[in-house]
């Protein structure tokens, strides 16, 4: 057995993947972080006080965890879902009642989405209560606020995808609020003097038309599955990077 392990470890394929032998010492532990594309964003060492759960609550990490869960379950759900008004609702029914493991995937996606919205708000609350938004972390607080809004938008756009009554009226009401926004919507103040009509305002751009219809479903689907996740991922990297550059994760003062 030992012989076999030795043989595998000396195999050129094994060596090309892991590059070097791992011994459990400080140097090798550090190199494992340095040399890994996924882990190198994380600091090699953190202070003991930084891992105090009573201070950080681990909410940022849990938010990221639920985001990863949502990406994985979301991508899998996309294999069965057509973003068209004829098929969307029945595809969801299909996922719930016929597709193997469809019901657990859909519910994982749904509950993880609710969970992420709650957890991201608790994360913000913690950052606020511990004063972790103060210098030099103001910029990262700003990034965090944008990420919070993007989380809400992900939740909102995903709401329409089943094309049921809840989602339909949520988008109707939500985009009507856009229509009532000053300078952006046709129902806002002075809109008639600015020539803002239902055909050139912000609601029109969101819906891809003047009614909640096929274009609106497709647009909300693309925002939900592609555009907002991409923007979020980029900002998340900036967010995590800045945590490290601004002096590591916030920790109790002595």
């Amino acid at each position: 057995m030992k012989n076999l392990t030795e043989k595998v470890k000396k195999n050129p394929i094994w060596k090309s993947i892991f590059r070097r032998d791992y011994r459990n010492n400080v140097r090798d532990r550090a190199l494992a972080i340095f040399g890994n594309v996924f882990l190198h964003l994380h600091p090699v060492q953190v202070r003991e006080s930084a891992v105090k759960l009573r201070f950080t609550w681990g909410m940022g990490g849990i938010t990221f965890f639920s985001f990863i869960l949502l990406v994985i379950t979301g991508v899998v759900l996309m294999f069965y879902y057509h973003p068209s008004i004829e098929q969307a609702y029945s595809d969801i029914k299909d996922l719930e009642f016929q597709v193997p493991y469809g019901v657990i995937l859909r519910n994982m996606h749904r509950w993880a989405a609710h969970f992420m919205v709650i957890v991201v708000m608790i994360h913000m609350f913690r950052v606020f209560m511990t004063g972790s938004y103060k210098a030099p972390r103001q910029f990262n607080w700003g990034i965090g606020v944008i990420l919070l809004v993007l989380t809400f938008l992900l939740s909102f756009t995903g709401y329409l995808t089943p094309w049921d009554q809840l989602g339909f009226w949520a988008i109707t009401v939500g985009t009507n609020m856009g229509a009532a926004t000053p300078l952006l919507g046709y129902q806002g103040p002075f809109s008639e003097y600015l020539h803002i009509t239902p055909y050139n305002d912000i609601r029109f751009a969101l819906l891809g038309g003047a009614q909640v219809g096929a274009n609106a479903l497709l647009r909300s689907y693309i925002w939900h599955c592609v555009a907002i996740p991409l923007i979020s991922i980029i900002l998340m990297f900036v967010h995590f990077w800045r945590v490290r550059k601004d002096g590591g994760i916030s920790r109790p003062q002595k």
Partner: protein, 193 residues
Amino acid sequence: MQDDRELHSEPTEGRAGLTACKAEEEQDTQFSKRRKFLTRVGWGSLAGFLTINSLAFLRFFYPRVLFEAPSQFKVGFPADYPPGQVNSQYQREFGTWIIRLQDGRFFAMESKCTHLGCTPSWMESQKKFKCPCHGSGYYITGLNFEGPAPRPMDRFKISISEDGQLTVDKTIKFPGIPGKDSNEVYPQSLLKA
């Protein structure tokens, strides 16, 4: 050019070297002037390019052709409509009710609650429009009397076309004014036929 600069940046000794240095400095400023100019042109054109691109990107979100129901449509002959009734036949596709009052006059009303834009339903037994979202209620004229709706529902222009059919034009709108009966505010929204 870059090689030149690297060479000149090496320390030179003596008086002769100093004069040479001055001449080179002059040459240098000339270079840097040109370089500054080219940098500005380069970044400027990139910025211009990106600005125009993002404007095009914004415009992209506003489609030219819509595959929605037309804003002007015919709804049949006046004789098809009994007085005192609300016709919901065109609600689903066009978002419009054709209403004929007891006195025989017509008007077209947008099926859209003035609270948050849901679609109310006509309750024939109670003679009122009721919104399922938050319970706003309206009389047959569109005047709101209960629930959170802030104003009466909006009307569209209705007229008789050449072939004698009723025609609704959704581009001409008579918005409801809080607390006022649209029959009195907009006599032009009513059609005698």
